[in-house]
Symmetry: C2
Subunit: 386 residues, 2 copies
Amino acid sequence: MSIKYGIAKAGIKPSGDYDILVVKLPESIYSLYLTQNSLPAAPVIYDKMVSQLNETIKAFVVNSGNANAATGEKGFQNAQEMAQIVAQELDIEKDEVLVFSTGVIGVQLPMDKVEKGLKTAIKNLKELQLEPASKAIMTTDSFPKYYQTKGIINEEEFFIKGIAKGAGMIHPNMATMLAFIFTDVKIEKELLDKASKLVVERTFNSIDVDGCESTNDSVLVVATGESNVQIDESNKLYFAKKLYEVSLNLAKMIVKDGEGATKLIQINVHQAQDKEEAKWIAETIALSNLFKTAMFGNDPNWGRILSAVGQTHLDIDFSKVKLFLGEFLLYSGEPIEFNREEAVKYMKENREITIDLYLQRGEEDWTYYTCDLTYKYIQINAEYTT
Amino acid sequence: MSIKYGIAKAGIKPSGDYDILVVKLPESIYSLYLTQNSLPAAPVIYDKMVSQLNETIKAFVVNSGNANAATGEKGFQNAQEMAQIVAQELDIEKDEVLVFSTGVIGVQLPMDKVEKGLKTAIKNLKELQLEPASKAIMTTDSFPKYYQTKGIINEEEFFIKGIAKGAGMIHPNMATMLAFIFTDVKIEKELLDKASKLVVERTFNSIDVDGCESTNDSVLVVATGESNVQIDESNKLYFAKKLYEVSLNLAKMIVKDGEGATKLIQINVHQAQDKEEAKWIAETIALSNLFKTAMFGNDPNWGRILSAVGQTHLDIDFSKVKLFLGEFLLYSGEPIEFNREEAVKYMKENREITIDLYLQRGEEDWTYYTCDLTYKYIQINAEYTT
């Protein structure tokens, strides 16, 4: 069997749009990454439990419109019940089903509606199609997010494809980043875990919209093993690169769709002492409100970038630092002359902006993706009151 | 002699306003707190050096309009030269003078103008007056910040008074928090350091406007010893409370004047396991853009507060947590009913908002002060391009 999906309009979203997605899988190994937030949503707690019990899954379910977060014992029971209903309808075990939710927090799920929706979705299961599946998990997303690629190993094809959602945190409480990635390679769990951990760290864990971490963030990577491609030590890098391609494209779509964003900004930190330091510096720049507003204002304001770097309190020698905005060298150990007019033009004319920071203190690098901070972000998050 | 001040319009600020302040002191002990940013401005580097050489000072100088930051070796020489000019004019030693700067970064000081300004200021030295002195150190501040109090110990009076500046970070590069506090008590350096460290941690180090740390932040506490009050173990708490009063009032003025701010928000975290944890939680809420926009939007959105708490990744038991907005209990271990209309009214009608978070996991507390995130913050920081 292949990967099937079913969607339904259960009425959880006030808009009446699709809000239930059920995915039926062949028995598949999987890697799962859940939010580190200490207020995890009920489905996150449930999935963590399942993943400790069971190395394979046969289905997962997502509802949008309600995050089932901060909902206490009742919320946990509801997450369990969602798994139970799906298991029963598909004639599989409850602990072969993962559950994901996104939407409003602090409100109990309308379980009667959820149950009807799950049954409808399962009645209409068909071959996985990325676009409609990705639409069913949207909340404030302004466009559906999906991406696919193929690979060939020893003349045998395999696919990696995925869907994602997320656009920053939203009213009334928060949005969430969810990503589901499917591949048909044969791979051992240990190798899948290893590859996907590296990839998730460089993609979904290296993006920012507003610095706020959700209670529901989850990334699931599933390998059905239905192709004739066996991933092993000899080809794991090739596989990891394909997985990176899919993950990065999905992650960048989330940033591009950041609430109110007008620009996608790629921050490359080079020549750090270690990866942790490189990531920390890139992230500190990415999270700076002053940097983000300067990007919105098309202001090649290198002082805000360097002062954000300094906020790490690392003993960086700024007399060795070089900073580029696109192709423009803005700072080279000291303030230098640069063509400000052209630099501003570069910012105004490009939807994607690149920052390159050379530290000259090591050989490690990291890239972080962020967006600008705009009037519209304030509007989205302040004007719509509960 | 008492504390004298002189101000001048040196022409460092494009506006032509006062931009030089010289303060002449009796030989005074002092405590100094400088930014931890790893790109410290030239005067910060200079002052650090002086404070290692010398336990007393006889003067300090502040220029506004130029931060002398990211200015390399030349900038350091200029900071030294400022001290040298003041020392020469006042007939004291160079290493008895501290230097502070605030304003644009990455631009060398116009030393000819600075020199003239310093000489003018010193020619016109007179008895310290807080209002004009605080005006001379303003950058984007919308009002001058000063505060004074008196104390009586054994029927002898002493004063504590101070000036401050800061309003968030500003164009073209950054603003800075500067605070100068004066007292005439007799006190040993060790005791002054101890008292002021505690006070600074609970005041100037517990405020936020936009999460961005400046390269120039400095707090100076000076004790002239000219009163008849000796501070010792028996009365140090009384002195510390007075110092706290002055520091807290100055710190709150800075938050109130936060760029674009319409509200001052006091976040009280109670019943934490230790002080560090209490401060970390309060700070994480204070820095959340989602929280800050909800405050601007008069939205009693407890989910954004709790998810910010969760972002600390501490193992908090949320079934024990109670959250108040003003007098309104919004969350008590689970979502509860509250009078939303009245809570919104409280937010709309008050310029100062209080959040109280009870954790039930210990006995320590911390208070952090922040402001909301508004359209005007975006305007100030994005629209005015270099």
